[in-house]
Symmetry: C2
Subunit: 199 residues, 2 copies
């Protein structure tokens, strides 16, 4: 069904065949350029928000799964690029733990720093590496998206649980995609940060 977050059909049509290409990105910069391209394409095609993510095998660089923001398209607030990429990777590998001991390590590469929800999703996914480009402040200041609250030291806290964090790699390239989304009048959906419902 098209509304699944763990189903290829959750992806826009232009992206569905991507992981069938047996792509590998060896360097971290190459991986990041790839996910920023996904984000840009998502904006240009009008298929979602300016965010892209992908899961790679840490050592081989093999692409395992991709995701882009699909909140509006699927009418699902959890359909962030990171959640889609992680869920599709888990479905493909048949495991809720991408860091299982009988498995090669996996990395999540994302065009923007994960929000509150996605930081939790990263932790539970079992990936051992997280790399992001644009920062929380970039997303908030350039577009006005609410990213939620994370405690000071969230990177250290992830590291303590075995997840290496790196940012902000190729930040300027990711920021240009955020700006592009704004210029094209993309929707900023912040369910509860506008005027709160009065009861």
């Amino acid at each position: 069904m098209s509304d699944a977050v763990s189903n290829e059909a959750a992806l826009p049509a232009w992206l569905r065949e991507e992981t069938a290409q047996q792509r590998a990105c060896l360097s971290e910069a190459e991986r990041m350029r790839y996910v920023i391209d996904l984000a840009r394409r998502n904006v240009l095609e009008g298929t979602g928000g300016p965010f892209g993510a992908a899961v790679f095998e840490c050592d081989s660089g093999r692409l395992v799964a991709v995701g882009v923001n699909r909140v509006e398209a699927l009418q699902l607030s959890c359909a962030h690029a990171e959640v889609l990429a992680l869920s599709l990777a888990q479905q493909r590998l048949g495991s809720y733990d991408l860091g299982a001991s009988d498995m090669t390590g996996h990395a999540l590469v994302t065009s923007a720093q994960p929000c509150l929800m996605c930081t939790g999703a990263v932790l539970w996914s079992g990936v051992t590496e997280l790399t992001y480009a644009a920062t929380k402040k970039d997303v908030e200041r350039l577009l006005g998206f609410d990213e939620g609250f994370l405690p000071p030291g969230w990177q250290r806290r992830l590291r303590r649980r075995g997840v290496t964090v790196r940012g902000a790699l190729l930040r300027d390239e990711a920021r240009s995609v955020l700006r592009l989304y704004g210029e094209r009048g993309g929707t900023i959906y912040n369910p509860r940060s506008g005027a709160p419902r009065q009861r």
Copy 2:
């Protein structure tokens, strides 16, 4: 497909027809008793972790959607009870914002305090009320589940964004379900909190 988080098929068979019953729970205690029963049934049926959640209309108490923990069953680390209930509600109502201005307000009731990921999911879902039973410490101490890190004042921070938070309602009843899961040898899956992968 059975792996969707926004599809009735994500629920165990015993739960799939539940919201067709046109149930309404007027009081908060009644709503909580209902979701604790879902959690208990999930343990007894062996269909997932000891967690249940549901979305209700705030004023009428009408049941909109249900969820239970399905991480192992779906092999999806994001398949927490809260994510399922929120996603199913959004799918049913055709909106990623359960607090949209043309809609009656919605409440998420959950048998345990939302983890890091689910706290973010609550924020983005548009619900205006969150009520939980067992606390983070209960889940961590009684079972050893990792719940992630939340900043001090997370309840205040949610309230500031228009989400009223109440807990720990019927905590003892929820704790008894956590204990039941432990007694029955339920899996404690903490992808990265054991021995971190050495690279």
